[in-house]
């Protein structure tokens, strides 16, 4: 399965082995991690939930698109569901290809599209005792808004490689724009 879910920790060694190929000279991966803060709130726990029947189809379509669009050999994406703690890995993307450029591009494409298109949701639990569904609660507070406001920008781009990446703020805008 080119896109799949797991209830337990993602086995990156096993996933990486699925991409081995004598013709590959490059391998890139992306890991999304649970960050301990968001929008000034201290995050203690994240709960991930997916509409799996559709999510695996849409995820597989994204990986197939990446294979078609970029000259890469193999690609996989694995997403965690359930309750995750700070620093747990929520998502892993791996790509192998003859040369590094395409592998980086395809890896970026896959994680960006997964964040936009695959029906997965996360609920953040804060140290304050509050909790909220990312991208849902504040939108819901202003249902008539057509242009996303700062309120949608729940996640910033993490500077550290491997940390939860891809600015969700920008994605929230793209998501709204697509509807």
């Amino acid at each position: 399965m080119h896109f799949r879910f797991t209830q337990t920790a993602i086995d990156t060694d096993a996933a990486r082995r699925e991409l081995l190929d004598g013709g590959a000279g490059a391998f890139t991966s992306f890991e999304g991690w649970v960050r301990d803060h968001n929008e000034g709130q201290e995050v203690t726990l994240l709960e991930y939930e997916a509409f799996q029947e559709l999510a695996v189809k849409e995820g597989a379509r994204i990986v197939a698109e990446a294979l078609q669009r970029f000259a890469v050999l193999h690609a996989r994406c694995i997403h965690r569901v359930g309750a995750l703690k700070v620093s747990d890995m929520a998502v892993w993307v791996g790509v192998s290809s003859a040369h590094r450029g395409e592998a980086f591009d395809a890896c970026r494409f896959i994680i960006d599209e997964v964040k936009h298109r695959v029906p997965i949701w996360k609920k953040e639990h804060y140290r304050s005792g509050d909790s909220g569904w990312v991208n849902c609660e504040r939108c819901a507070a202003a249902p008539s808004s057509t242009a996303p406001t700062q309120g949608h920008h729940h996640h910033g781009e993490a500077a550290a490689p491997g940390a939860e990446a891809a600015a969700l703020g920008a994605e929230a805008i793209a998501h709204s724009a697509r509807k």
Partner: protein
């Protein structure tokens, strides 16, 4: 007709259930959502959602048939 509706994330919490079979006269997902939003007080508006019928993305105006499984999809937040 009888339809199956599944709820996820914020909508699951607001509906107080993850799925149900409903008797409805709603001809389209659009009408069905308007009815359910009134029943459960959903705070997300239709333009914030997508809809799936039988585990595939669907148009809001697609005709519904007995036995269809409908899922309303709140703004996604994977990764």
């Amino acid at each position: 007709m009888q339809l199956k509706v599944q709820y996820y994330a914020l909508m699951r919490e607001q509906a107080g259930r993850s799925e149900e079979w409903l008797e409805t006269a709603a001809a389209t997902p659009q009408r069905l959502y308007d009815d359910l939003a009134q029943r459960y007080g959903f705070t997300l508006t239709r333009d914030q959602l997508k809809v799936a019928v039988n585990s595939e993305f669907s148009d809001w105006s697609r005709p519904l048939s007995a036995g269809d499984a409908v899922v309303f999809i709140p703004p996604v937040a994977g990764g």
